[in-house]
């Protein structure tokens, strides 16, 4: 059936900022064709149960632009999202000329009649626009937003927009920036520790992040030939939560920079203290699972700019990861 042919693999769901098990892969539909204006697919497939377009599969998601010509690009796609959602998850985009829309409607009407459906849509609504300056705009939405489909369904599927004007709810540079922001993801911190598997009372534990987390991440949303907006996340720093609030149990060292300091022999501060890490002062034997739960939170500043000179500072993105750190005691006997 024609509806099945538009099915695409994909996903859904997101999580809140700061959650350790977060989201998201952004799905790209760069240059996607507006389904609003697309002709029906050929009915050359066997009949099938569902109707409409398939959700994307999996359990990770950034944004999924539906019926949209907006393209997404940048190295900020495909990592961990903070679950940011576009304030208005549906919007209008320029779609097709009056002539093209009329041809489409006539063709669809013909198909419908041939199927025995003589529904009473008034073709004249479309014919009257031929010769006028302007375009039909179509409704687009983020299908990964739980409110996206409901938002789109609540608005007319297409609206006629005279040349030089923008309809209420039409795409703007600010909306484009919000789409880029929702698509932006940052990598989940991969915690590296030294010592790695088990620590001991009074032994300094170095903490740093693995990989390329120090590089800025950005996403650019582009409405081809019209405007674009870029949102960039830059690593700002690390927060370390040793898993206990008792100062007699752990001391945190906060000279972490953006990614912490990898352990190297002789690189301590001269007093056996790490620049970035934690020194546990009590055994973890009395803790749940007999380990402290160390949480490292990577903090990213987020700034958006659009091609019309607009700029917006967003709340920082905070993504966390946790590791259990068992801390043992070394018993020693001093003989005189």
């Amino acid at each position: 059936m024609s509806t099945r042919t538009s099915a695409k693999p994909g996903t859904e769901s997101g999580t809140r900022a700061g959650a350790s098990t977060v989201v998201a892969v952004a799905f790209l539909l760069a240059g996607a064709v507006l389904a609003v204006g697309a002709p029906p697919a050929a009915a050359d497939d066997p009949a099938e149960g569902p109707r409409g377009e398939a959700f994307q599969k999996g359990n990770t998601a950034g944004v999924r632009l539906t019926n949209s010509k907006i393209g997404l690009s940048g190295n900020g796609l495909g990592g961990k999202s903070d679950g940011y959602r576009i304030p208005q998850p549906c919007w209008y985009e320029p779609n097709m000329s009056a002539e093209d829309m009329l041809h489409l409607q006539v063709r669809e009407r013909k198909d419908a009649v041939e199927s025995g459906n003589n529904y009473s849509e008034n073709i004249r609504d479309y014919a009257d626009k031929v010769g006028e300056k302007g375009k039909w705009w179509g409704i687009s939405y983020d299908a990964n937003d739980p409110a996206g489909a409901a938002c789109a369904a609540g608005r007319e599927s297409t609206v006629w927009v005279p040349e030089g004007t923008t309809p209420v709810g039409g795409i703007t540079a600010q909306q484009l920036m919000q789409i880029a922001r929702a698509a932006l993801t940052v990598p989940e911190p991969k915690i590296k520790l030294s010592p790695d598997v088990k620590s001991y009372v009074n032994l300094p534990t170095w903490v740093w992040l693995d990989g390329a987390e120090a590089a800025p991440r950005s996403v650019t949303a582009t409405l081809p030939g019209v405007m674009s907006a870029t949102v960039t996340a830059t690593p700002q720093g690390l927060d370390i939560d040793p898993g206990t609030e008792d100062e007699n149990r752990a001391k945190v060292y906060k000279d972490c920079g953006t990614t912490g300091k990898p352990y190297t022999k002789g690189a301590d501060k001269g007093d056996d203290s790490p620049p970035c890490g934690v020194r546990y002062l009590r055994s973890s034997i009395d803790q749940p699972r007999k380990a402290y739960t160390l949480t490292v939170t990577s903090v990213w500043t987020v700034v958006g700019n659009d091609s019309q000179g607009g700029q917006l500072n967003y709340d920082p993105i905070r993504v966390s990861a946790t590791r259990d750190v068992p801390v043992g005691e070394v018993q020693s006997i001093v003989k005189n």
Partner: protein, 213 residues
């Protein structure tokens, strides 16, 4: 003319049931046949068997949805589902499903193509199609999303005389026959709901796993 309608919608408040955990069967209460009646929507919570066409029935598990707007959206969704199977079961003679769809929306193409596909192949259907775990996960302004689980394992593809085909398609067998169907609907000025878009999650999608029983 269109602008005022859009302005109304801009102030729409999103009420999505986001971040809900996995619940077998979708988490919707399956229709224990209580005395409660969702009067405004025109259904009683519980299981109802509706004859769509000779030998073709739709088994709908109506949820206990106390909100009248949401329950009427659910009713519109289920009515549309039933009406399209009615079109298939009557070999296209019954086209009443058009009434539940906004004819200026993409949904009209999807629905006509879905029905026409049976007709072009000179096929019909018999058996029982089940619709359950009906719910409204989001309402935004005049729009709403309705989700429902579909089980087509009880449906048999037939020729136009009603004789089951020797080879039944895979989409009528597990796992493909169980999936999540969703729709976006608009609340019309006359108080009714009309469908404007369809989406679905097939058996391999995390969302459809909510439909497993």
């Amino acid at each position: 003319m269109l602008v005022p309608a859009c302005m109304l919608l801009l102030a729409g408040c999103a009420v999505p049931d986001a971040d809900r955990g996995f619940t077998p069967g979708g988490g919707a209460e399956p229709a224990a046949a209580t005395a409660a009646t969702t009067a405004t929507a025109g259904y009683t919570p519980g299981t109802e068997t509706i004859t769509a066409a000779p030998g073709l029935t739709i088994e709908v598990e109506w949820p206990d949805e106390p909100d009248p707007d949401r329950s009427s959206a659910i009713k519109a969704f289920a009515d549309d589902f039933t009406a399209q199977w009615r079109a298939v079961g009557t070999l296209g003679k019954d086209t009443s499903y058009i009434k539940g769809i906004d004819v200026k929306s993409p949904a009209i193409r999807d629905a006509i193509a879905w029905v026409r596909n049976f007709l072009d192949d000179k096929e019909s259907a018999r058996g029982v199609a089940k619709l359950y775990a009906l719910r409204v996960p989001a309402v935004v302004g005049r729009g709403a999303e309705v989700d429902g689980c579909v089980d087509l394992t009880g449906v048999r593809l037939t020729d136009q005389e009603g004789t089951p085909l020797a080879r039944q398609p895979t989409w009528l067998k597990r796992p493909r026959a169980v999936f999540l169907q969703t729709a976006g609907l608009v609340h019309d000025a006359d108080g009714g709901w009309r469908i404007r878009l369809y989406r679905y999650a097939d058996h391999s999608d995390e969302r459809a796993k909510e439909c497993l029983r």
